[in-house]
């Protein structure tokens, strides 16, 4: 299984934050085969 995407930031006080990046499925286009 593919690893979930995460984003890491470091706050000014030194706190590390790792956040889950949600994959947003593209909206279906008109004419797409369903």
């Amino acid at each position: 299984m593919a690893q979930p995407k995460t984003k890491k930031t470091v706050l000014p006080d030194g706190t590390e934050v790792v956040e889950l990046v949600k994959e947003v499925a593209p909206a279906p286009k008109q004419g797409d085969i369903k």
């Binding site: 299984m1 690893q3 979930p4 995460t6 890491k8 006080d13 030194g14 706190t15 590390e16 934050v17 790792v18 956040e19 889950l20 990046v21 949600k22």
Partner: protein, 497 residues
């Protein structure tokens, strides 16, 4: 001195653990009360009648060494939570204040006299640990419910196995009783081996071959003790044997920073108590407390450090909580046992998240994880050694695999998931601490944690030819996250107390 934890409070057991000590001051107050009445003369003091006696209070002073210290910590804090790393080699006891304290039987031999004072129903009500000549010293205040100093023979006997005494409470099966001549108490008339007393006034003993009179004195013989009978280790020391760390704010124990200038450390655990005297009968033992009740517990401390900057004055000024740790280490218990600390987060199902400190060792045990419900995206934050997992509003986005991935992205820890399920705050209501971290060469350890203290007012005053000191009294508050005001971890080779 020999001690033994009792199975039933106030019922003596045969003592089996020898403890070296410096001094004891337990007073046995065979007290009386004055009758002074108007009775045809000016005399104020007409008669003395027996008063209540006990609780028998005083202190025991000893240097702390890892093996025997646990008995006193168990008495002051309550039963420990125990983990065995290697049976009989590396055993960890964790003490925190409990609502029930065990009681002890304590034998203290009268030097040069061949007999003991046996205190039973002993509560270790207070312990002060301080530094004395670089050694860690403990002064334990005791409150004994009952005592056996001696008893009187109440029926003349010259044969058989029944000995009548005015007190048998305190005598246990196997005791060696010395019966001393009431007219020449230096003369031992008989040495008898006791069975368990059948009642308060009768004890079955080995065959009586001497003529014993009413009023002869029975005492419990002291065992013959050699140096090698003491199962002990070396005393713990401060400079060169301990380290002190402070942490500031909430979750201070996850923000500890080693101090380089702390010269003084002292901690006191104090249990309030009340002895109950009730009309329970007419025997000698009925003059003693029928029970001892526990009241509140408080922990205070004192630290002293060279004043280098206003850091601690600022803490005082803001009434900020501060966490304090003093870790004393002793002899190596076990080598080549490095292990990383781990913890497991639960989910609403079978899945778990296993978090592991990347570096093996004792310090990994300081990591802790708090799970909170958020309002946005799943995240994990690391501040000091506190990991805060903030859950997504969409429960499906809190799957154990996803939670493991955000924790795994933090520095110093790794995380994996098992099975499936969604992590919830309800499944992890308390702060989850990592545990099981072991140093490559694991040592004896006495670690004192006070997670949330406040300073009493102090001022580093200036004096001629003097150095500026922060000498601070602290009061340990009950930490709402850890649910305790103090924790002591004791590692040694002792499996139970």
């Amino acid at each position: 001195m020999r001690v033994k934890k009792e199975a039933t409070a106030g019922v003596a057991l045969a003592t089996d653990t020898l403890v070296e000590f410096l001094t004891e001051s337990i007073a046995v107050n065979w007290d009386w009360t004055q009758v002074g009445a108007v009775a045809g003369s000016r005399s104020l003091n007409l008669r003395a009648v027996k008063d209540v006696v006990g609780p028998f209070v005083g202190s025991i002073e000893l240097y702390v060494e890892p093996k025997t210290a646990g008995h006193f910590l168990c008495g002051v804090f309550g039963e420990d939570a125990h983990t065995t790393a290697t049976a009989g080699v590396s055993e960890l006891s964790v003490f925190t204040p409990k609502d029930v304290l065990p009681t002890y039987t304590v034998d203290i031999a009268r030097a040069g006299c061949g007999y003991v004072n046996r205190f039973f129903g002993v509560r270790f009500v207070k312990a002060v640990l301080s530094i004395d000549g670089n050694k860690l010293k403990m002064v334990v205040d005791v409150a004994a419910q009952r005592v056996f100093t001696n008893a009187r023979v109440t029926a003349a006997v010259g044969s058989g196995t029944t000995l009548s005494l005015d007190q048998t409470s305190g005598i246990v099966a196997g005791d060696s009783l010395l019966v001393l001549d009431k007219d020449a108490p230096g003369t031992t008339l008989a040495t008898l081996t006791a069975s368990a007393p059948s009642d308060e006034n009768t004890v079955t003993v080995s065959t009586i071959a001497a003529s014993l009179e009413v009023g002869d004195i029975a005492v419990i013989a002291a065992a013959v003790i050699d140096d090698e009978d003491y199962a002990r280790s070396k005393e713990l020391t401060f400079v060169g044997g301990a380290s002190v760390s402070f942490g500031k704010g909430r979750d201070a124990m996850q923000r500890l920073v080693a101090r380089t200038n702390c010269e003084q450390f002292e901690v006191t655990v104090d249990n309030g108590y009340k002895a109950v005297h009730a009309g329970t009968g007419i025997n000698v033992v009925d003059r003693m407390p029928s029970t001892i009740l526990l009241k509140g517990v408080g922990v205070t401390a004192k630290v002293g450090q060279l004043h280098a900057n206003p850091e601690l004055v600022d803490v005082l000024r803001s009434t900020d909580p501060i966490g304090i740790r003093a870790r004393f280490q002793g002899q190596v218990l076990e080598a080549n046992v490095a292990a990383a600390a781990t913890a497991t987060l639960a989910s609403g199902s079978t899945g778990t998240v296993v978090v592991t400190a990347e570096a093996a060792g004792e310090d990994g045990n300081d990591y802790a994880i708090r799970v909170v419900q958020g309002t946005g995206t799943l995240s994990a934050a690391l501040s000091g050694k506190l990991i805060t997992v903030t859950l997504d509003t969409d429960t499906a986005d809190n799957a154990v695999a996803l939670v493991a991935s955000v924790i795994d992205g933090l520095t110093g820890v790794s995380a994996t998931s098992t099975s499936t399920g969604n992590v919830t705050a309800a499944a992890n209501p308390d702060k989850v601490s990592l545990a099981g971290g072991r140093a490559a060469s694991e040592r004896e350890m006495l670690e004192i944690d006070l997670p949330s203290c406040v300073f009493a007012p102090f001022t580093p005053n200036v004096g001629a030819d003097d150095v500026l000191m922060d000498t601070i009294d602290l009061t340990a508050q009950r930490d709402p996250d850890d649910g305790r005001e103090a924790r002591v971890r004791l590692r040694n080779s002792v499996a139970s107390y």
